[in-house]
């Protein structure tokens, strides 16, 4: 007998901690809700001989039809009818959290409340009479402090008990909304109660949704025989209540919450908390941004510098593997495994340490609660750029690696805002492009090399901003979604918790990027090694280079550069090695020498800009597909980046021509 248990709650209530407490990591399964880009987590656990399937619903404040994650949560409860719905509440913030409880009771879900962060509430000076609250709501409540695993056993006990009890006792609505509203609800229930909908969904809930003019439910009654009758009642409701029923209901729910809490909650004197103190500086008018800059700079420094030796270790490991595979008798196989897989893939996998460290840094900032403040501080600037405040973090992460950056766009609510952020993210110069800049700038620009490299970062930002504005004005028109964000209390991030976070994201990244990288490495190996035995120029890659070269002639690129750009589709840092292979030289100085002999500085600079802007690496493309959920936008991004790179390249070449270089 397997019971399905859904977890639901506001954001920041500790839902994921409870999920992790209930389901050990190994038994967790992360995917997507079908057809959507919202993450779905589920897993199994066993308690007292009963098997429980735990499903983590998206964190929401409400269950309207207006937001994707709210609809997902709502539909799951109404259609899958889980045996138990565990509503996780932040005890230190109980008033607003109870709103969702009311909505769940309307849905006639079998609710068990986990009154989480009980320890935080106590620190705040709150005294909650759990028994009384439970009686008034008609729901069992288990106090928990998930981070210390307090209350988890009792919670599991209660879940199993509630699951077994379900259906044995008919749930009577304990919460009622006053005469006027209840009359309206009843009149609607009378109309629909014999219909098909009422068999599938709780009639009372349907009635309430209809009064609220819920888009999804209205859709469901379209074309039904009682549609007109219903619309009449709905229209008349506004007059009866004196205001929009939706607002009246919301007010009523909160009124009831106040009444209930009046007898079961005692708030202590208002304390000046750690959060108040920290926020004074973190969102300070003058210091807010500098502190933000300092923290993120520290994070990047950590991610890159602390990971350096580990990158070498991984590189060494794959080098040894590649050497070992040279002994494989079959020459082609030896090359495939040695050069293609261990060589190509191995080189890219050396970038795992910085990416994981970056994830760790982000997890710490997020778990502590600081990230919300960062989004807040940046909102003003972002708004002017036609973006959402939350777009800033992904943009910033892009300087490390575009892939975690794009994964970070999940917290952006507006679809269009998210899409724009995803589309322009690759223009931000990621860490992989740096080796290319260093090689070219070092070769062509001598003492001005550092400035040349800085100009690439600057160029990336400018292009990203311009394109964001352009997209906002044309294809993805509209105002950025209103910025409303809850700032959770600051919490010392636990090492354990942040590492788990980092691990989850890192593994996700590896799974997705890894598949594309492996496939890409093998394809590239094939293209450059075959026809077998031929030198680079005559290999397929070389042939492609020659074939495409005329297109790039205006930019001054010959087949060699084009071929290396094709190589770099796998990972941009490969361009350096690729040039080495193509020129049949080894070592940066030698490659530099070869470049110097063949091209002028303008072409060098154009190549830098082109590397910055053109098609993102395969792993990024894969991430785009996953995050946007559509091939249409992924291909659009491919084309967009290529076009922008080409245009900018032409501009640079043009300026160069004016300056006398041809």
């Amino acid at each position: 007998m397997v019971y399905t248990v859904a977890l639901i709650g506001n954001p920041n209530v500790g839902k994921s901690v409870i999920f992790n407490n209930l389901v050990p990591g190994a038994r967790q399964h992360v995917g997507n809700w079908p057809g959507k880009t919202v993450e779905k987590k589920e897993g199994k656990c066993v308690h007292k001989g009963t098997e429980l399937k735990i499903v983590d619903l998206p964190g929401t404040y409400s269950l309207t039809a207006r937001a994707v994650d709210e609809l997902i949560a709502r539909n799951y409860i109404v259609e899958e009818k889980p045996e138990v719905v565990v509503h996780i509440i932040d005890a230190s913030n109980i008033e607003r959290n109870l709103y969702l409880t009311f909505l769940l009771l309307e849905l006639e879900a079998n609710v068990v409340i986990a009154l989480n962060m009980f320890d935080v509430a106590k620190e705040k000076g709150y005294k909650i009479d759990v028994k009384k609250l439970s009686k008034q709501l008609g729901v069992s409540i288990v106090p928990t402090a998930a981070t210390t695993k307090e209350g988890m056993k009792e919670l599991k006990d209660e879940i199993v008990y509630a699951a077994q009890k379900k259906g044995l006792v008919k749930v009577k609505p304990v919460i009622t909304y006053g005469e006027k509203i209840e009359d309206l609800i009843q009149s609607i229930v009378d109309i629909i109660k014999d219909g098909m909908l009422a068999q599938k969904y709780p009639p009372r809930w349907l009635a309430i949704k209809l009064l609220e003019k819920d888009e999804d439910v209205l859709e469901k009654i379209k074309g039904s025989r009682y549609q007109n009758e219903l619309m009449e009642v709905i229209m008349k409701a506004k007059n009866v209540l004196g205001d929009d029923p939706e607002l009246v209901l919301a007010d009523k729910r909160y009124d009831l919450i106040s009444t209930i809490l009046a007898t079961s909650l005692v708030r202590g004197a208002k304390k000046w908390t750690l959060t108040d103190m920290l926020d004074k500086v973190f969102i300070h008018k003058g210091l807010g941004i500098p502190v933000f800059i300092a923290l993120f700079w520290a994070m990047f420094r950590f991610a890159y510098d602390a990971s350096a030796p580990f990158m070498e270790i991984i590189g060494l490991f794959f080098e040894k593997l590649a050497e070992a595979s040279a002994g494989i008798p079959n020459e082609v196989l030896a090359s495939l495994i040695g050069d293609g897989i261990f060589g190509g893939l191995g080189f890219i996998l050396t970038f795992i340490p910085p990416i994981f460290f970056l994830f760790l840094g982000i997890s710490i900032l997020e778990d502590s609660g600081y990230l919300a403040r960062a989004a807040f501080i940046m909102d003003r600037i972002m708004f002017k750029l036609g973006l959402h405040g939350r777009s800033f973090i992904p943009m910033l992460l892009g300087f490390g690696c575009n892939i975690p950056a794009m994964m970070a766009t999940r917290s952006i609510e507006g679809e269009k805002d998210r899409l724009i952020t995803l589309l322009v993210n690759p223009f931000i110069s990621c860490g992989a492009r740096l080796p290319v800049y260093i090689l070219i700038a070092g070769t062509f620009f001598g003492s001005m090399a550092t400035t040349a490299i800085w100009s690439m970062y600057f160029l990336g930002i400018v292009v990203a901003i311009l394109l964001a504005l352009l997209l906002r004005k044309t294809i993805l028109r509209g105002e950025p979604a209103p910025f409303i964000m809850e700032l959770p209390l600051y919490k010392a991030p636990t090492f354990h918790g942040s590492v788990i976070h980092m691990w989850e994201r890192g593994v996700q990244f590896l799974k997705k990027a890894g598949t594309y990288l492996l496939a890409g490495a093998i394809i590239l190996w094939f293209l450059s090694t075959f026809p077998w035995g031929a030198e680079v120029e005559l290999s397929y890659t070389g042939q492609i280079g020659h074939a495409l070269a005329p297109l790039f002639a205006p930019l001054g690129f010959d087949w060699r550069i084009v071929a290396s750009l094709v190589f770099a589709l796998l990972a941009k840092e490969i361009a350096v090695e690729a040039l080495g292979i193509i020129y049949a030289v080894e070592g940066e100085t030698a490659i530099g020498g070869a470049l110097l002999a063949s091209y002028n500085p303008v072409i060098g600079y154009t190549l830098m800009a082109f590397t910055l802007l053109y098609i993102p690496c395969v792993a990024t493309i894969g991430t785009m597909k996953k995050e946007s959920g559509s091939w249409k936008w992924t291909i659009f991004q491919l084309v967009l980046t290529l076009v922008v790179a080409y245009v900018v390249g032409l501009i640079i070449t043009g300026i160069g021509a004016l300056l006398g270089y041809v």
Partner: protein, 84 residues
């Protein structure tokens, strides 16, 4: 007493919400987060200013939680100032 936009309240001031001028979506969204009629809000931090077109986002405390939002929304929430 006069009702003024939340954006105009100084830091530390308290207000009682009278109404929210906005589309249905916004009003519903805000009320889900606790901004209902008669709810008391305290301004925690303001990068806003009385001048129209100037100023930035706001952080307020409502129903035990801290919510941050842009000025565009802050001018749509009408409150009556409450004495401390």
């Amino acid at each position: 007493m006069m009702e003024i936009p939340l954006a105009m309240l100084p830091v530390g001031a308290k207000g009682k919400i009278t109404r929210i001028r906005g589309g249905r979506g916004l009003v519903r969204r805000l009320s889900d987060m606790g901004f209902t009629r008669d709810a008391e809000v305290t301004v925690v931090c303001s990068h806003s200013s009385p001048n129209p077109g100037h100023g930035g986002p706001l952080v307020v405390e409502v129903k035990d939680s801290r919510i941050a939002f842009g000025r565009g929304i802050a001018v749509k929430i009408m409150v009556q100032e409450v004495d401390n």
